[in-house]
Symmetry: C2
Subunit: 316 residues, 2 copies
């Protein structure tokens, strides 16, 4: 099958547009949309520093490469990367190696920030202390606070993440199913910055996960293809399945969900404004409550540990 735009052989069929594309035109197709998305989300005035939350996986590695390339013509904007080390021995070191290599290749600043420095626990320790809990519910909170703090301390004006179209549509649907209008109103990208919170950029939010994968492969972007040993127990897996089936039946469903959501965003911003933020009594990070969620979880983990230390002989 030839490419719809030239005579090269096609490498893929973009189902929701019905077009067969060759490697070159497929990459161009991705890049055009990412570039448009970046400029839709940020109006650059010069002097900005953008920190990518770089895990070393396909999404964040592609985000790093594309931000670097799109912004390369602007000498006055800087792209750097922050890798959060959750402390998962069987998984994270490999991702860090990929992240490091990518940043060295691009010649950009790279910070590696372990959970131990910010929340005092590795995820391996959390899982040992709370074997019955869903690890992602800890890791999500710890990662958010760690990335935000590290970005702020690195002087970043924005944190870019690798969130792709599938992730975005899943988040929307998940919050709809929970009736959580407030959370729905606070999904990124953030155009109303709040003190202490570095606003999020999501350059890949219109690119389907499979296209990110293919793009990274075609461009030869090195990335870590591992899966976190603790993942998939999260509820998100259910919404991934649902969306995959809907997309299969009606190609374009994910795009439609995000486009519909985007028509509602201005209403959300107006009617469901973010809450006033306080400084967490324990760590000083911004929170809507007295104590931030990360410190709350650390307190709970500390209690579990103290309890376990007191009852060393109990066998369950």
């Amino acid at each position: 099958m030839p490419c719809a735009r030239c005579n090269e052989p096609a490498v893929t069929l973009v189902r929701y547009s019905g077009q067969h594309l060759c490697a070159g035109h497929f990459c161009e197709f991705v890049e055009r949309r990412v570039k448009r998305e970046i400029h839709r989300q940020v109006e650059f005035r010069g002097g900005e520093r953008i920190a990518v939350g770089l895990s070393g996986g396909k999404d964040s590695s592609t985000t790093t490469v594309l931000l670097h390339e799109v912004l390369a013509p602007r000498r006055d904007v800087e792209v750097l990367a922050i890798t959060v080390d959750e402390g998962i021995a069987s998984y994270r070191p490999e991702g860090i190696r990929f992240a490091k290599a990518l940043c060295e290749g691009l010649g950009i600043e790279h910070h590696v920030v372990p959970y131990e420095e910010t929340v005092g626990w590795t995820m391996d320790e959390v899982v040992a202390a709370e074997p019955a809990a869903i690890p992602c519910s800890y890791c999500g909170v710890f990662r958010r606070t760690t990335l935000n703090r590290a970005a702020r301390e690195a002087g970043a004006d924005y944190v870019a993440t690798g969130l792709n179209l599938d992730d975005t549509a899943q988040s929307i649907l998940m919050n709809i199913a929970r009736g959580d209008v407030d959370k729905l109103a606070r999904l990124g990208p953030h155009d109303h910055p709040q003190p202490g919170l570095v606003p999020r950029l999501q350059p890949l939010r219109t690119i389907p996960e499979k296209e990110v994968y293919l793009y990274a492969m075609l461009r030869g972007i090195p990335f870590h293809d591992g899966t976190c040993p603790h993942s998939e127990r999260a509820q998100r897996g259910r919404f991934r399945e649902i969306l995959n089936r809907l997309e299969e039946d009606s190609p374009g469903t994910r795009h439609a969900i995000v486009a519909g959501y985007d028509r509602l965003r201005p209403l959300f911003a107006e009617r469901f404004p973010p809450p006033e933020l306080n400084e967490c009594v324990a760590c000083g990070e911004p929170t809507a409550n007295l104590m931030c969620k990360a410190c709350e979880l650390q307190t709970r983990l500390g209690d579990r540990k103290a309890q376990a230390d007191r009852e060393p002989e109990t066998v369950h």
Copy 2:
């Protein structure tokens, strides 16, 4: 297991509230919510006529009984019923028999309006003329226009339908998946009436389908339990499955979806107001376009028939 409110044996567990209830307290539980919903949707001033779209199935029969009972103390409000006869020989006559018996038992006015009178085709004829089409896409449009016209001609101020919680949550999710914000904004109940359109009431919109069923059985409400021979080819079946699975995992999901939607309704009403309506050039019914959807479909069916009459010998 005893009832959570008395010592009678429970007939059901209401999963999302965790309560076992006996027959009496279960019925009270349903009635309280329906009554609240009716009064939330209409502020009665006296003199209102409410037409129930009564198919004879469990939902619309229960709606008729409950509206009749809730409004019985008000002598100045009248409940009547309109049964649309779609012309489905293997299915509808039985429903009409039940509808007639119910209305006679309650002593309320009852109109039976065949599709032939309003759109000139029975559904059996439509299916024969368009065997490849999804019949519901015709029937939905024809039913809406027939019910609206009949209610208006009967002097009704409102049309009540049997839409239950499952239907409501499915409609919301379906329009989210299509990114159809405008349609999302126009789901009932209608608090901003438009000329020519009789506003919709949905007394059962917070009652799960299974509870409606149980309620009708416990109360001995006679209803037709048949399934339309043409149903289930519609896309709605997919969303029914999705919601059933989500509800199974997280009881309360349907309620959460509707509650979240209801928080957004005021925004919708303001930002996505209904379009200005014209009179259909063919039938005079209200439409956002020049010709209403029902007349458009009738024209298409007429063309098919004319074509078939011209090519009587063609074998496919």
